[in-house]
Symmetry: C2
Subunit: 255 residues, 2 copies
């Protein structure tokens, strides 16, 4: 069982695999989706990489990231076509053979029973590194694959979302990072000193500054993050007072 | 002058810098934006990484990527606040001191003359590694920064777009990658053999397969890429014929 009182920091990396992201054809949505989901699990996304459908590039990234973090997630490259090489590349990175996973085959047989039956391309999606377990796919047939600390998920964001939903609560994490946003009609260059000094005065809190242009006016959202609710509240209160002292109108929750 | 007949392959990497991307607060748009722009310049985006506002993480990524590629672009972390540390981290990676850049200071003085004047936070945006040149910012005041093969750009996508527009045509690249899309009402698992065999039969062409669900129907867009227009056209023609032979209706240009 995950220990929610654990104050160790758990980290994860994401490897996005696919030529379509690096050609600009497809806008990645999985970095933001995974990041938000991990936050709720008490796990911090510390790094993301995007690599093409190229086995040496995938292997190198998998081996760099899986040892540097508690968890490595991948998205993309687990479909039925010739450019879907994630399973083979992860197995190569781990020095494991690829086998036909009996449980995955049974899932695909059931799914395609009313959809034209299995064929060799569809059967490719039953291949997994030896010893893998499966991640349920509630959206379409082919499951995701877990081996060691690596979670291979689909590239299509709606399918990835279903796989993450299936994993919710199953991974050991630490305290979730809490955050609170203060919006202000202020240029960040007018309040930079306040932000820096407020962050310094509140150990265990980080303040991020995100300027925007909205209806012709310049403003900023200032996001305070901490794993400690009391420290967070103190830091937010002091930053709000500081902005008011500079004559800046604020909006709790952000603009 | 860039040599447009050059058939060397030019590669680039992108380093996205910012806690807000890894927390899920902000959806990155710069990977897709830079990828599309690079394609037109005849430069291939081969890798993207996202790291937090953490100097050791930025330094390590900069040093890995700048030597592996012709160009390294960064987005984020060049604003006026305490969490904007890209300039310092890139200078540290290169072993260079950071100076106040006289040209950048002049740009900021002019920009802020009617906007409340320079202050210490705004002056931070004139800091650059020794020997840097500037990338014009047509959207707001603070310029981007080029040092060696590294291009530091803003994180806000609209500002990044202006910086890329200013760089258009100034970088040496090779032949641009051409692409053509064929849409078909086909599941990719029904046509996987055709895709693989067609790609194999057409040297210098790659075929990507991108399934979709649209108005309750399953389809796929198949993207053929090549730097050679004749080879591209032959491959597209053969793939279109192959899909028709399997009884699949196709839509030139994609669905």
């Amino acid at each position: 069982m995950p220990d929610s009182q654990n104050d160790r920091i758990y980290t994860a990396a994401l490897l996005v695999i696919g030529d379509e992201i690096l050609s600009g054809r497809t806008q990645d949505k999985n970095i933001a989706q995974l990041a938000s989901w991990l936050g709720v699990q008490g796990i911090r996304l510390r790094e993301a990489r995007v690599v093409p459908d190229d086995e040496p590039a995938i292997v190198a990234a998998v081996n760099a990231l899986r040892v540097a973090h508690d968890y490595l997630f991948t998205t993309g490259g687990i479909g039925p076509t010739h450019d879907d090489i994630t399973v083979d590349a992860v197995a190569a990175a781990l020095g494991l053979p690829v086998e036909e996973n009996a449980e995955a085959r049974a899932i695909l047989e059931a799914y395609y029973a009313t959809r034209g039956g299995l064929n060799p391309a569809r059967l490719r999606m039953a291949r997994a590194p030896l010893g893998a377990s499966l991640i349920p796919n509630t959206y379409s047939g082919a499951p995701g694959i877990r081996i060691e600390n690596i979670f291979m998920m689909a590239g299509v964001p709606a399918i990835t979302a279903g796989m993450l939903a299936a994993l919710t609560g199953t991974l050991e994490g630490g305290l979730p990072v809490l955050s609170e946003t203060i919006g202000a009609w202020a240029q960040e260059s007018e309040v930079a000193d306040l932000l820096r000094e407020t962050e310094r005065a509140h150990e265990g809190c980080q303040i991020g500054s995100y300027p925007f242009f909205h209806e012709g006016r310049v403003g900023g959202n200032f996001v305070v993050r901490s794993i400690d609710a009391d420290r967070l509240a103190q830091c937010v209160a002091e930053l709000t007072q500081g902005l008011a002292a500079l004559g800046k109108a604020t909006v709790a929750g952000g603009i």
